[in-house]
Assembly symmetry: C2
């Protein structure tokens, strides 16, 4: 198997892009990623997106983007795995290169969410869950996670303040992240006083709705730089589809399995991880994610966050540019924003958000309630 | 690169499935494909689908199907490339196996179209074209193809009767295909007298709306049978996205390039091809497809069809179970119905539709107006 390098990255600011179409956003991120290597023509374009049909009446994004980038002729297609679309697309591109099926790949995640009104975006997101069972009874994606949050708090005696810790970290880091949607610090009181959305989840427990695109240029071992960023592993795992079918709802077993396999393939242990991007779609999601990967013990993810473990200067710096909560969560693009942010960190280009001396980065990107999980390990050589 | 075998196939009848959900259809086809090899647990599940969000308010089909098949844990995702979704998903699965990234793959195409009313399905299909330019001016996918048909007829002096030849062949072959949507023979007068849909295309020039699912079990060289069906090549190419941007609208250059590369990789020439499944979404599409691949000269595809070249007993038997027009065209599944039908032919299981002594089969599956094209070559060893 060959080595795979994250040669460059590009992304748009996350937020309201009323003046740009879904294609405009994808092109903007792609051009930024391609710019440093104008001599490289990708062998394949893979677009990660969840619901362009709903938001933009547009499918066939692969060929649409390839054509807009003057890459006519090359294979191009879209990959969808709900909010894990970005991570899965990265995984497929990575595997194409390491196996020799391609030499270079452009992986572009994009989502346009703000063009939908709230009921529409709520429906679009709930398509990550079963239409026949979960949607049918009126459960939104938010309400499922709210029930999970309640179970988490009651099972492990997690306080409102502890649950608020991840959003507080996310917003703190976002204040100095230029591409973040919300560059505004919040504290635990702000979270506790924010409007109740689905009890016990409040507005500031939940990642926002935003537009954005992130692109990654992957290559085989042809970029000759000292500090190149290599993909050590990327693993996808899937869980029993619906939350209510699982015996243990508080264990994110897809994340657990993907992380275990990825860490093993990469030859790393938890203590090797210098920077961590987790899928903090909701405060409870962040907590269960660090627990599933082993960074915190079961029931202690939120408590550890409250104790500073996941802060920028903590033992496991996480959400270093704001995560889903602060940077924003344009769903199909999120997994690739995570990769781009790890790349910034590993290259030492993190600016005010830089984690000093980091060498190993891990991203965890999920679709549904840990229904699909992708864990990726990157390293600076 | 390792050998890749089409170990088995499964599919539903194409047509109205009011009593089945999109998941039900995908499960039915998958179980049929998996049944002969109950000892095989696929390493990956890839779902091909174009617009499950519109039709079924359901995304995340990969994990949904994997979970329903008790394949929890394995990587699973959806691939979308408009009506070429099936061919592209097959290509990705094939490349994963030949490169050693996977040993077995379950590729499942599914589309639910009948739950949408006509304006809804027309909008869903037009998402294969640019929302900002083509849809915006009110052009449907049908009207674009109608303009192409008029250009084709006027450029090459193609008569109404000649244009009708492919639909007549398709319906003839569908009469004896158990899974076909329309098992009813038609003649050129029927086509000419059928309702005008978008001048010059009439109802019987156009593939119908139907529900269906087709599944393919791909494996590395582990199935030890004398008549195993091997994938010799699968190539994807893309064209300038919108028809109106192309200098030569009558040359399907994505198909031309994909076919040229696939035939070259497979080491075959046109005369080696015993059975041919083409993307006859419209009568004009069929004609331009055989021309792009070289089976007919430019302008002679429809004329050759009228002369019997593409009939079951002709020089290049095509649409052997009815093609998109007769078997039906559940868009995301179509590329995999084509593979399944080639498999039946190459295995000698074609029944009344069998092409005698066939050894090499070719499938061409397109998305948009030849915007994405996938050409696949299969061979019986």
């Amino acid at each position: 198997m060959g080595r795979v390098i994250v040669a460059s990255v590009g992304y748009t600011k996350v937020g309201d892009h009323w003046d740009k179409s879904i294609l405009d956003l994808a092109v903007e991120a792609s051009k930024k990623a391609l710019k440093p290597y104008s001599n490289i023509k990708p062998d394949v374009v893979i677009v990660a997106n969840m619901f362009s049909g709903q938001s933009s009446k547009q499918e066939h994004l692969g060929a649409l983007l390839a054509s807009a980038l003057n890459l006519v002729g090359i294979p191009a297609f879209k990959i969808e795995a709900a909010c894990a679309s970005g991570g899965v697309a990265f995984n497929v591109g990575y595997r194409m290169i390491r196996s020799g099926e391609a030499d270079t790949a452009l992986i572009v995640g994009v989502e346009k969410m703000r063009d939908l009104d709230v009921p529409e975006v709520s429906l679009a997101l709930s398509m990550a869950e079963s239409a026949e069972y979960t949607q049918f009874i009126g459960a939104t994606f938010l309400s499922l996670n709210a029930m999970l949050a309640r179970l988490y708090q009651e099972t492990y005696n997690v306080t409102r303040e502890e649950l608020s810790a991840f959003p507080v970290i996310a917003h703190q880091n976002a204040t100095t992240a230029e591409h973040a949607q919300f560059r505004k610090a919040i504290n635990v009181d702000d979270v506790a006083r924010s409007p109740l959305v689905s009890d016990p989840l409040r507005l500031l427990d939940c990642a926002p709705i935003g537009d954005g695109a992130a692109a990654i240029l992957l290559t085989s071992d042809r970029v000759d730089e000292e500090d190149e960023v290599e993909v050590l592993s990327s693993k996808i795992s899937t869980n029993i589809f619906s939350l209510y079918e699982r015996e243990d709802m508080l264990t994110f077993s897809a994340t657990k399995e993907a992380a275990s396999k990825a860490f093993s393939e990469a030859g790393i242990s938890l203590s090797d991880v210098d920077v961590l991007e987790i899928h903090d779609a909701f405060s409870v999601t962040a907590a269960l994610s660090v627990e599933a990967m082993g960074f915190s013990k079961p029931g202690e993810g939120a408590k550890d966050a409250a104790a500073g473990v996941y802060s920028l200067k903590g033992r496991h710096p996480a959400l270093t540019f704001g995560g889903l909560k602060g940077r924003g969560h344009p769903v199909g693009a999120t997994g690739l924003y995570q990769i781009a942010e790890l790349w910034l960190q590993l290259k030492g280009r993190g600016g005010l958000n830089q984690v000093d001396g980091c060498r190993i980065g891990v991203a965890q990107n999920i679709g549904g309630v840990d229904t699909t999980s992708v864990v990726t390990v990157l390293a600076r050589r």
